[in-house]
Amino acid sequence: MALLECRKVSRHFGGLKALVDFELTLEKGELVGLIGPNGAGKTTVFNVITGVFPPTLGEVVLEGRVINDRKPFQITQMGVARTFQNIRLFKEMTVLDNVRAVMHPRCGYNLLDSFVRTPRFARRERELTEEAEALLERMNLADRRHEKAGSLPYGAQRRLEIARALATRPKLLLLDEPAAGMNPSEVGQLVELIRKVKQEFDLTVLLIEHQMGLVMNLCERLVVLDFGQIIARGTPAEIQANPRVLEAYLGKAVAE
């Protein structure tokens, strides 16, 4: 069974058809890229999958279950996590607390435990904090864990977004322009990071990105959107040669 299936998904905003008959099947362990011009509907795909708004038409199916009408937090608890194109960290919270907060659904104790500080509370708190710290270590953020998230440099904030997404223990990770605002060398590091994390956490990844270096390097196959419609699918090599994609998106010279 596929991990995720979008069946003829459309999303309209008033008269605007941001997404039309979008079809996508993600098998477990895949790493797929979603590209296309600005305003093509890429982020809309993520929003529909994560339940920010339901699709106008069609079905989103996660592990065989239709999730059209689930709330975002329920979908996340079912194993889908994402990052945001415009970073949305909990700015006034520390780096560590950003990660700890989203672990809440599996904290394993109830309100009463936290009020009276039962041993179970103490144990779980310790375990969760350790887990969070390990995750931050993994993302090169450990030494900044007591800083406020909002005061981190941009690149670190992007990494923290990924760390926070991972803390929800997702099966499917959605990355929205993770390399935006990074310079090529940082992008290189990011590529490695995504690879390793995917391995370690046994993830399926769908990512949106405009930096072709990253996309071509990382993705096994690509889906190209334009005006809400899929105009091409295929391996990076096929896409790079697709005249329609060149015309709509890449331009004359494909990124170096």
Partner: protein
């Protein structure tokens, strides 16, 4: 039927006074997202200044004008001393709100001192001769006509200023993005001060009309009308001038019709229940645009 219509006119009188207060609120809110709780007290100052003018025999339009100018200055001074320092420090929005509460308390308490207006209730003299007409079987008084006409004129002028003038465009720009507005060469502080001036001048006019309709003034007179008018602005969709007008008229009708046909005891309860119900259906008010937040 005639009586119902007469009650509706009563409601319009109340609603239009609220409207004038509400647009002042909504302007300031629109531009710096501040619920300027001191606005109600500016109304009071406007009413008092007009009052002092009237008892000295100054013609009423002049007296109101003097009140408007005084309050415009007051608004600018409040902005300069209390809110701008916070803005320049990049303080959180709530700090400005608390400061506004402080300013409101200050104006009320200071005005109550003998060296200022004093704490007494004063009878507001009639500005225009009392007259009553029968329009299609509905009794309409000269004061009601004065209120409705002046509010309509002032709101129309305001709408023109905001949407048809350069400074209006600057105001809208500042309200959307202060830094970007600066980069257009807009003097943001000046635009905000201007907004306060206009809003406060309208408050003064509203104070004078409020006192004309309910002829008594005292230092705490602004609290309830201020609150109701702000609520009206929210009801209509805060930031929107037509919204403020609509909300205020509805609020006036809700109060008056409840008082007339249910009981006076519940008029505030009904008015606020209406607000809550409207917000549940339209979280950004009747004419406000909420739009699902883009992620």
């Amino acid at each position: 039927m005639g009586q119902l219509l007469e009650q509706v006119v009563n409601g319009l009188q109340l609603g239009f006074v609220y409207a004038l207060i509400a647009v002042g609120y909504t302007m300031v809110y629109g531009i710096i997202k501040l619920i300027n709780f001191a606005h109600g007290d500016v109304i009071m100052v406007g009413a008092f200044v007009t009052f002092f003018g009237l008892v000295r025999g100054i013609p009423w339009p002049v007296a109101i004008l003097v009140g408007m100018v005084t309050c415009a200055l007051l608004g600018v001074v409040i902005e300069r001393l209390a809110y701008r320092p916070l803005r320049e420090k990049g303080a959180p929005r709530i700090a400005a709100l608390i400061t506004a509460i402080g300013v409101s308390l200050f104006i009320e308490n200071f005005s109550s001192l003998r060296i200022a207006f004093g704490p007494d209730y004063r009878q507001f003299p009639a500005m225009i001769p009392r007259a009553q007409w029968n329009l299609f079987g509905v009794k309409v008084s000269s004061v009601q006509v004065l209120i409705i006409v002046s509010t309509l004129i002032l709101v129309a002028i305001l709408q023109l200023v905001v949407y048809r003038t350069k400074i209006g465009k600057a105001m809208r720009a500042v309200s959307m993005d202060m830094d970007a507005a600066r980069l257009m060469g807009i003097n943001v502080n000046q635009v905000i001060a201007f907004t306060f001036a206009i809003g406060s001048a309208l408050a003064a006019a509203a104070g004078a009309l409020l006192a004309a309709a309910y002829p008594q003034i005292w230092p705490y007179m602004g609290i309830m009308p201020g609150l109701k008018a702000f609520t009206a602005a929210v009801l209509g969709g805060i930031g929107s001038i037509p919204g403020a007008l609509l909300g205020a008229v509805l609020m006036g009708q809700a109060e008056v019709l409840t008082a007339a046909y249910i009981t006076t005891d519940f008029k505030d309860a009904v008015a606020f229940a209406l607000l809550i119900l409207v917000l549940l259906v339209r979280p950004a008010g009747l004419l406000g645009k909420a739009g699902p937040e883009k992620v």
